[in-house]
């Protein structure tokens, strides 16, 4: 187990190193200078330009620039965001909790919802309910993230104004509220984006889980369970689900990139102040260090996510746990 963990950690570090190399290549292969926007920006003072030059060693030979860049990364330095006039690390660090909150809720919600749908479908496999749920899942599964986000914004803030139109809190009044009111204010703002992301992610889970359950059902031990006189429900819930959860843990690892991508659009459309919004806005301001920082952080999140999923898998499967 420890060896396995160690191996995966090394692998994760290698992955991040390669990601860093790719982003470095991106910066330096780009036609023109991606930093020209920074260097041209009149609101960027000399100190920032100097920081940038130091970070990327812009006037040094390429290999030296690379070494410098990797060294800075290793220390957690992601450069200077001129549009925020703060270190990229700080910008992302202050935005990250909001993104993680959104993703965590959507992750939990979508897996719960997805598994539930799959259970209902498998319990009634072949029925009209099964087919209807399959069709609905497929519909939402095929939906581009940003489109559903736009539609839900349209539906629940304009047509049926149940939710505030954007942001994580009431920008004007939040700081004047009492503790309870602040919590309520946050929840009110969180609900719609979180629900939207949940609805975006759940169909994938449902489809995957349904397939996993159907894969498990012909297994001999399911027949054994049936032979014991268990009801179909008990069989599904106890024997099938437990085994079909193993592939779902793999899905957990695989779903991070999609979830992150979804969070980007959701944050943009609901003005949710997470790293997605920061990066998407950085596209507009051509704040390249922030974009690159976002790419690197996103990759780290995905790597860490799949690492955690692997660990969870190893823990959940008694056949692997022993090792």
């Amino acid at each position: 187990m420890l060896r396995y963990l160690g191996g995966r950690l090394v692998q994760a570090v290698v992955i991040v190193a390669i990601v860093a190399t790719i982003t470095f290549a991106l910066i330096h292969l780009a036609p023109g200078d991606p930093f020209s926007a920074v260097m041209d920006n009149p609101n960027v003072n000399e100190r920032v330009r100097a920081t940038l030059r130091a970070q990327y060693g812009l006037d040094r030979p390429l290999p030296e620039q690379f070494v410098r860049y990797v060294g800075q990364l290793a220390r957690g330095e992601l450069g200077w965001s001129f549009s925020h006039d703060r270190p990229v690390r700080e910008v992302l660090a202050s935005a990250l909790p909001n993104t993680l909150l959104l993703m965590a809720i959507a992750l939990a919600g979508s897996f719960a919802l997805g598994i539930l749908i799959a259970l209902v479908q498998v319990a009634r496999r072949g029925s009209a309910t099964d087919h209807a749920l399959s069709a609905i899942s497929l519909f939402f599964f095929s939906m581009p993230d940003f489109w559903l986000a736009i539609l839900s914004l349209l539906a629940f803030t304009y047509w049926l104004p149940l939710f505030p139109v954007g942001g994580a809190v009431d920008p004007v009044m939040h700081d004047y509220m009492g503790f309870g009111a602040r919590i309520a204010d946050r929840l009110r703002h969180l609900l719609l984006p979180a629900l939207t992301l949940t609805v975006l992610a759940a169909p994938g889970v449902a489809r995957y889980q349904r397939a996993a359950l159907l894969d498990v059902l012909p297994a001999d031990y399911i027949r054994t369970a049936r032979l014991k006189g268990l009801t179909e429900r008990e069989i599904l819930r106890r024997h099938a689900l437990r085994n079909a959860l193993l592939p779902i843990i793999s899905l957990l690892g695989l779903s991070f990139p999609a979830l992150l991508t979804g969070a980007f659009f959701i944050e943009k459309i609901f003005a949710w102040p997470g790293m997605g919004l920061a990066v998407v806005n950085a596209i507009g301001t051509r704040d390249y260090p922030l974009v690159v920082g976002g790419v690197i952080l996103g990759s780290i999140m995905v790597t860490v996510g799949s690492l955690l999923a692997d660990l969870l898998y190893a823990w959940a499967d008694p056949r692997l746990r022993a090792r």
């Binding site: 609101n43 100190r47 009044m173």
Partner: protein
């Protein structure tokens, strides 16, 4: 004199805004004004700001020596009201004006306002390392002297009709003790630029980028406390959100509604609309110099006939109707109709697509390969039109123009740029064409900086097109030097005629902005050049206040936590 002026102003206010329906008790100070803002201010330094949000905020926090009257008279000091200077005296030869600082005036940190602050403001503004565009407009001011701590004397090179305007309007006064430690080259990005300390009736409380800028009443102000206890700019991530927040009552005031929003606002009985006269005009300007080598004319736009053809190919009236409906007029030229010096019947280059095609043909630009785009010597008639991505309306303007010019066989690539980046390209004259808007000043003289030779070559100059015509310059100069209103108008008309026929830009729209506001809000008159000029006189009757009005000003807790931003 100051007291008298203010009393008169108040009377005017009572007459026009409240028509006596409110009891005196309903006018107790208090209330929160929430303004819907389309974006963050760029920088809260008067000499450096370029966004309208920044101007709105800066004008509340900082005071000028004297304020221009609502009639926007710029000749001598008629209509100007005392601010930091409680009175002023002209020298015999009118080549200097002595401003006497109000002895009660204090900065928000409690330090008294002194004449050295005025001198410091002038010196730093004109410091070339600051990179401000204002020096081009105040070139007539020679120096500022401080015979004593309460008197600042402005010395001028020549006697002109708008000496007084130059001295007061262009320079809100900034505190020397706050800024003197920072070299002007480092003002951008400095902490002081983010947390201004001024002497206005509102003091700065906080700025959470992307969320809010908050000001609170300066209750100890030398001019008395404002009627509102707080003013908040609620910064929306996009136009949609801004409108929705306004419609839902989250914000009280919305500047520059678009025509398509008007019906929606009308559906809300608690919301009011109010048009006002703006001083802005928009245009698509051409770079007359080669971006690669400023010594050469631009390969396309260097030709006057071609530029005229492009204007001819543009159905400006239609374009303006499309974008603004009735909330704008086609621009007459580099000016606005509100100036008394502007002749509303200035001759225009007419919309004539056939003629435009003819001209382009005759210039040798022909579509030889049948792709719909004209070429000459293998070079297609194609250029990039830069537009700030922050304004969807300007992007729309660009796309509309793109299609209109396509009809004439001209290919336009719309290039959306972040506003500061676009600004810098323009400053470096490194662009082909760009959509721009000038929010002009009360004086038509600002045209010297934006289209005159004076603003053409210097990188701090705002004549990004590098349009240079001595006839134009001479007429503008004559106009500005003339004390006779009729003569002024005649000279300006000649100047405008010249530049319109030279077509360094396609003059697009002169918006007639319409603000939306909540009916509980009692507005003061909206000044044409700056609707926000009298926010300190706006008020909310006590019986119409809602919970957010009564939240004690400046008591927001833990802003760092809520916005994830450190406030030092």
């Amino acid at each position: 004199m100051a007291a008298l002026n203010r009393a008169r102003l108040l009377c005017a206010l009572l007459l026009c805004a409240c028509v006596g329906t409110e009891s005196q008790s309903g006018k107790s100070t208090g209330g929160t004004l929430v303004i819907a803002a389309g974006g963050d201010p760029d920088i809260l330094v008067p000499a450096l700001l370029s966004s309208v949000q920044a101007a709105e905020i800066v004008d509340q926090v900082y005071d000028r020596l004297a304020n221009i009257g609502d009639s926007l008279n710029i000749l001598n000091d008629a209509g100007f009201r005392p601010r930091l200077a409680d009175h002023w005296t002209w020298s015999q030869d009118s080549l200097s004006i002595a401003f006497h600082i109000d002895p009660l005036a204090k900065w928000h940190d409690g330090t008294p306002v002194r004449s050295n602050d005025v001198r410091f403001t002038f010196q730093s503004t004109t410091d070339s390392t600051l990179g401000s565009g204002i020096p081009a407009l105040i070139a007539n001011i020679d120096s500022v002297a401080t015979p004593d701590s309460a008197t600042a004397v402005f010395w001028f090179h020549t006697r002109t009709p708008q000496q007084f305007y130059d001295a007061t309007f262009q320079m809100p006064i900034i505190p020397e003790h706050i800024w003197k430690g920072v070299p002007p080259s480092a003002w951008r990005g400095s902490e002081q630029a983010k947390h201004p300390i001024g002497s206005g009736q509102f003091r700065f409380v906080r700025w959470i980028p992307g969320a809010v800028v908050e000001l609170a009443a300066d209750t100890a102000n030398y001019r008395g406390a404002p009627k509102l206890s707080r003013v908040i700019w609620s910064i929306a991530p996009d136009f949609n959100t801004a409108v929705t927040r306004f419609l839902s009552g989250e914000t009280d005031f919305f500047e520059a509604l678009r025509p398509e929003n008007l019906p929606e606002v009308a559906k809300h009985p608690e919301l009011r609309l109010k048009p006002y006269r703006g001083l802005a005009y928009s245009f698509a300007q051409f770079n007359l110099r080669d971006p690669a080598n400023h010594a050469r004319p631009h390969p396309i736009f260097g030709n006057r006939e071609l530029r005229r053809a492009l204007t001819m190919a543009t159905d400006r009236a239609n374009l303006v109707r499309s974008l603004y409906d009735s909330l704008a007029n086609p621009a007459l030229g580099p000016t606005v109709r509100a100036y008394p010096t502007t002749d509303p019947n200035l001759a225009q280059i007419p919309f004539d697509l056939a003629r435009a095609r003819q001209i382009l043909d005759s210039l040798g630009w022909r579509d030889a390969n049948g792709d719909g785009i004209r070429e000459r010597k293998g070079r297609p008639l194609q250029f990039s039109l830069a537009v700030p991505n922050t304004s969807k309306q300007r992007v729309q303007l660009a796309v509309l123009l793109q299609e209109q010019l396509r009809q004439a066989g001209v290919k336009v690539d719309v290039e959306q740029l972040d506003f500061p980046v676009l600004m810098e390209r323009e400053r470096k004259r490194a662009f082909d064409a760009a959509i721009g808007v000038w929010s002009t000043q009360p004086s038509p003289g600002s045209i010297r900086g934006t289209w005159g030779t004076a603003g053409s070559r210097a990188s701090s100059g705002s004549n990004y097109s590098s349009y240079e015509n001595p006839v134009f310059d001479a007429n503008v100069d004559s106009a500005l030097a003339s004390f006779n209103p009729a003569a002024r108008k005649a000279y300006f008309t000649k100047a405008y005629d010249t530049i319109i026929q030279d077509a360094p830009a396609i003059w697009l729209a002169e918006p007639l902005p319409t603000v939306g506001y909540h009916s509980r809000l009692q507005l003061a008159p909206l000044r044409s050049d700056a609707w926000w000029a009298h926010i300190a006189d706006w008020w909310i009757p006590s019986d119409k206040r809602i919970p957010r009005d009564n939240a004690p000003a400046g008591t927001a807790t833990a802003p760092a936590e809520s916005a994830g931003r450190k406030t030092p």
